[in-house]
């Protein structure tokens, strides 16, 4: 980034190029990055919470930061009963089921009311659509809740048991199919049109998945995975399903684009702008990086201090057959918005995040040196600050350039523009040394510029990987919705703890990492 783009268009262009370059850079880690970013946006959308949900589904922020009763209970339980690692918590299951019951009832009510209204008024289509969305979301959340409840059962079963147990397979089936049915029943044409794969393909995929479920070594992992393809209409095995649901939440506008070969996902503004993406399940504190979260987790008990728990989650191989996924900007009218005629999808979640901030947010970061350049992405500011003041090549029109040849190209292009000397006195005195002095300086700066970002980006990607993998350990991939995020919050600990408190982090992360990889 040359740091000299002034017009909005230029900035947008820049951001897009930067985003794409980042995407390119991140390609090997694309999966993790993307999934990570997906996780990042599990952020409450207050408008979507249903009336009458239990208190722990309330404002998600509170649920995130101030553990509600249930969560606290589980937390306590978790802390007090580390010995129960192999057992599952019946209490938690019971409460989950009660909640599900409530939830189903609510949805039922809504559908009924809708049905009535449909008969009465034909015109309230938008309201109807909203209701439909609501129902969809609710149903999805119910399914997810069901899955996670079922998932919490799994750790208690031994692997051979699971693999040989047809009931579990059936569970997988039942977990999967309702979701698919639910989706279809809720008439989400977007989902259908979004994915090219026909229904037959879906079922075959599904069968295949079930087969793989049976043969897989890590059944728990597979089991978690299994419902996902169903949710994602069978086309994408794992985390994509989240976004599908997301998209349906956004209104189900997923359009089938001419290339058609990819799935378009759209995140909400709040998700994009969420400051933290990793949250402590015990105290609710938020972190930007999973490594920091792991460090934080050490304070919650010895079990988090094991090398395994602290280890960076490894990325699993097998990312080859990932479905192609692209992202849409939620800003209507933006070229990156899927409704745009010349829609150009964003490649990764990170791109979405940066694009949205750069293009549709206030530029709140001002360079302290020049006090003119403003940025909405802090990394851009930092990049600029490295060069700020180095733009010594100035044209009479006021444009600055970081390189002399660029300036001369500019001057050559425009009639009447002439190279300008910024500080004439300084220039005069320095001029003689310039060719000699500035060279090593520039070299240094260049090497810094080149080496530092690369290393830092490496670091970031590493962290992101960790973060991405780790977050799945803490946060169910299904916890995207406020209600279910909270729900998840309260179910997860039980499940994880009951499984194996000592290998909690790595196992969770590994499994989800693998999940990532598979997807």
């Amino acid at each position: 980034m040359e740091g000299r783009m002034t017009s909005l268009e230029a900035t947008m262009k820049a951001s897009s190029t930067m985003a794409s370059s980042m995407a390119r850079n991140a390609d090997p880690d694309q999966q993790t990055l993307r999934s990570n970013s997906v996780e990042q946006f599990y952020f409450p959308r207050p408008g979507q919470s249903l009336p009458g949900i239990p208190p722990f589904f309330g404002p998600p922020s509170s649920s995130l930061y101030l553990p509600n009763d249930n969560e606290a209970k589980f937390g306590n339980q978790f802390e007090s009963n580390p010995s129960q690692n192999t057992d599952w918590d019946p209490q938690a299951i019971v409460s989950n089921l009660t909640f599900l019951e409530q939830k189903i009832k609510q949805v039922k009510d809504i559908v009924q009311s809708m049905n009535n209204r449909e008969n009465q008024v034909a015109g309230g289509s938008s309201e109807l659509a909203a209701k439909q969305q609501l129902i969809t979301a609710d149903l999805t959340s119910i399914i997810i809740q069901l899955i996670s409840t079922a998932g919490s059962l799994l750790p208690s079963m031994k692997n051979p048991l699971l693999s040989s147990n047809p009931a579990v397979r059936q569970l997988g089936n039942t977990l999967g199919s309702p979701m698919g049915f639910g989706m279809n029943a809720n008439q989400r044409p977007s989902v259908d049109s979004k994915t090219d794969i026909p229904d037959t393909g879906k079922t075959s995929d599904y069968d295949e998945l079930m087969n793989s479920l049976n043969t897989a070594q890590d059944e728990r992992d597979e089991l978690i995975k299994c419902p996902n393809p169903c949710g994602g209409e069978g086309s994408e095995p794992t985390p994509m399903e989240d976004h599908d649901v997301k998209e349906s939440d956004d209104g189900g506008e997923g359009e089938n684009l001419p290339p058609g070969s990819y799935v378009v996902l759209q995140l909400e503004k709040e998700e994009i702008l969420a400051p933290h993406t990793h949250f402590c399940l015990i105290c609710g504190k938020g972190f930007k990086r999973d490594a920091n979260l792991r460090m934080h987790m050490r304070g919650h008990g010895d079990e988090y201090k094991t090398p395994a728990a602290l280890a960076k989650p490894t990325k699993d191989s097998g990312a080859d057959h990932a479905p192609v996924t692209r992202y849409s900007c939620p800003f209507v009218g933006c070229k990156r918005n899927k409704e745009h005629k010349k829609f150009q999808p964003l490649k990764t979640i990170l791109c979405v995040k940066n694009h949205y901030k750069r293009s549709h947010c206030d530029k709140s970061y001002t360079c302290s040196r020049c006090n003119t350049k403003k940025f909405s992405v802090i990394a851009d500011l930092k990049t600029h600050e490295k060069h700020c003041g180095r733009d010594k090549w100035l044209c009479s029109c006021g444009t600055t350039f970081s390189r002399k040849d660029k300036l001369f190209g500019h001057v050559a292009l425009f009639q009447g523009h002439t190279p300008a000397l910024p500080m004439e006195d300084v220039k005069v005195s320095e001029a003689s040394e310039q060719p000699h002095d500035s060279e090593p300086m520039n070299e240094m700066a260049r090497s810094m510029v080149y080496s530092f970002p690369s290393s830092s980006s490496d670091g970031i990607s590493n962290l992101d990987m960790k973060m991405a993998d780790d977050v799945r350990g803490y946060f169910s991939p299904l916890s995207f919705d406020p209600c279910f995020g909270a729900l998840d919050d309260f179910t997860r600990p039980g499940f994880d703890i009951s499984e194996n408190p000592f290998s909690f982090l790595p196992s969770g992360s590994c499994s989800y990492g693998q999940q990532n990889g598979d997807s």
Binding site: P419, L421, Q434
Partner: protein, 565 residues
């Protein structure tokens, strides 16, 4: 300064006399030119049109520059007329500048070469606040030998002289981009020299290139901070350039083609451009510069005969080529000179001649008028004889320090080039005195002859007496010559302007007196280490009115009496 002042004092009285003379001259002229004879009451100068008066004054100035001063002192009218007439100012001190400009508001040329130090303040006060009536007359300013001014002074120059077309800022070793930016504000500049502006970078050149689009001549000699970027921009913006001096700059092949493609470029000087190599020369398109006539690539160390051969196809209309201290001269390179049939001048100083190289010149460059082979190695009698037999048009030949050539070459040379104008053969020590007589016998059109450090004797000088057109004669370190030989020169070479008698130990006052009497146009004479010279010589030389250079180092018998004359 003091000397100059005393000089003026000295001439006060003669001036008075001349004043009367010139006044009477102008009066008589005015009377004869004016249609109706002026009444005695009216000042005669008022009746004379300025144009006529200026014509008169031009003549006066031509005859005796000091007469104008006397004329100005004659009356107010004369003073006013003189101040209107004067075009060139050459102040001795920078602090006289405001007064001088006020006195001569119509001056167009300001030559500050005598002012070693021109502070910013002087320039500013002289040009900005000084003559408010006519601030714009100056068209040419020469600051090439002045220091002490900076960007501020240059800044004062440009806006106050809108008609400025010629600006010489050579040797501004402290001037840089800021000053160049100020120069660029003089939009009408046609000729500009920024030689030795060491702090100058591409930025300054860029400013000049954009600002002074009318530039015809530009010198960036020794501007070491200038690189391809600036030169490329120059080539792009200043399309009217006809002369460009890029000597000792860091120009490389990146900007060389752009420069040669300038549509009007006639003269390109690239002395000591180490960035020009065979690649750069080879990168030129065929016939890319049809306008280029003079190309100086001397001391470009990184080019070889191959590069030169490949370049010559690009400059078909070249008239002058200087490849001194460049590359070895091979027959193949010389044959490629056939691609530039109009070539008139070829300078190959300090080059190493490969076998048959010189012969090839004889066959390939038939149209040559001037050939310089000085300090070349590998010039042999046979090859030179062959070459000179073919070069029928040659007028000037320089074979300085070609130590291998003998009487054989000289015989061939003198017999073929009877119309030779210039011959320089300093330190051709193997040529005998007998052969040197041939020069005088055959080349009677010689205007310039350099026989320094040769076997010349009085007989040779006697033969040279036939060269009545001789303007310059250098016969230093010719120990055999005596007063007798010099007498022949003094009698028969009235046009002689420059004579070099360095270390001619056999000379005495008589010979010098003969020269001084016979050569009234003498401007320069070198008598260093002519130990026999006394005050008598100086007294006789004082009659040569145009003498401006006199070297008398190592003349122990010259006293202050002689000097005072």
């Amino acid at each position: 300064m003091a000397a100059a002042a005393s000089h003026q004092q000295q001439h006060r009285h003669p001036k008075r006399r001349r004043l009367a003379l010139s006044l009477s001259l102008s009066l008589s002229l005015s009377l004869s030119f004016s249609p109706s004879p002026a009444p005695a009451a009216a000042p005669p100068l008022d009746t004379l049109a300025d144009e006529l008066l200026f014509l008169v004054l031009d003549r006066v100035a031509q005859a005796d520059p000091r007469a104008l001063k006397s004329f100005a002192l004659a009356s107010r009218a004369c003073h006013a007329a003189e101040s209107r007439h004067r075009r060139t100012l050459r102040p001795l001190r920078a602090d006289l500048l405001p007064a001088a400009l006020a006195r001569y508001p119509c001056a167009t040329h300001l030559d500050l070469s005598l002012c070693a130090r021109v502070p910013d303040a002087a320039l500013a006060s002289a040009l900005v606040s000084g003559p408010s009536s006519c601030p714009s007359a100056l068209r040419a300013v020469d600051l090439s030998r002045s220091r002490g001014f900076g960007a501020a002074g240059v800044a004062a120059l440009a806006p106050s002289c809108p008609g400025l077309a010629d600006l010489d800022l050579s040797n501004g070793v402290d001037l840089g981009d800021a000053a160049a930016a100020e120069v660029a504000r003089a939009k009408g500049l046609r000729r500009l020299s920024l030689a030795r502006w060491k702090p100058l970078t591409d930025m300054g050149v860029g400013c000049v290139a954009v600002g002074c689009a009318e530039l015809r001549e530009l010198s960036l000699k020794w501007c070491l901070g200038v690189s391809d970027l600036g030169i490329q921009l120059l080539a792009l913006k200043c399309r009217k350039l006809t002369r460009l001096d890029l000597s000792y700059t860091m120009i490389t092949k990146d900007s060389f083609p752009a420069i040669t493609k300038l549509p009007n470029l006639q003269q390109l000087t690239l002395v000591g451009c180490i960035g020009i190599d065979d690649d750069a020369l080879g990168s030129l398109d065929k016939e890319c510069s049809k306008s280029l006539q003079v190309l100086d690539m001397s001391q470009c160390q990184n080019i070889t005969d191959v590069g030169v051969s490949s370049m010559l196809k690009s400059v078909p209309n070249l008239l002058e080529l200087d490849l001194s201290y460049c590359c070895p001269v091979t027959p193949s390179m010389v044959r490629s000179l056939q691609k530039i049939p109009k070539l008139r001048t070829l300078k190959l100083e300090g080059c190493k001649f490969m076998t048959d190289g010189l012969k090839a010149i004889g066959t390939s460059c038939v149209s040559l008028r001037e050939l310089s082979l000085s300090k070349c190695s590998g010039v042999t009698d046979t090859e030179l004889s062959f070459a000179v037999s073919r070069l029928k048009n040659l007028l000037k030949l320089d074979i300085t320090c070609c130590r291998n050539i003998t009487d054989v070459s000289l015989a061939a040379l003198t017999s073929s080039f009877t119309s030779l104008i210039s011959l320089r053969m300093e330190s051709c020590s193997r040529v005998s005195s007998g052969a040197l007589q041939l020069i005088g016998k055959h080349c009677s059109h010689l205007e310039e002859l350099d026989l320094t450090d040769s076997d010349l004797d009085d007989e040779g000088l006697k033969a040279l007496a036939r060269c009545s057109e001789l303007l310059g004669l250098k016969i230093g370190i010719c120990l055999k010559i005596s007063d007798e030989g010099l007498t022949h020169i003094g009698r028969s070479c009235p046009k002689l302007r420059d004579i070099d008698l360095y270390r001619c130990g056999g000379l005495s006052d008589d010979g010098i007196i003969q020269i001084a009497q016979g050569c009234p146009m003498l401007e320069s004479i070198n008598l260093s280490y002519c130990t026999e010279i006394t005050d008598r010589s100086l007294i006789s030389l004082s009659k040569c009115a145009k003498l401006n250079t006199l070297e008398i180092r190592g003349c122990p018998r010259v006293s202050s009496i002689g000097l005072s004359k």
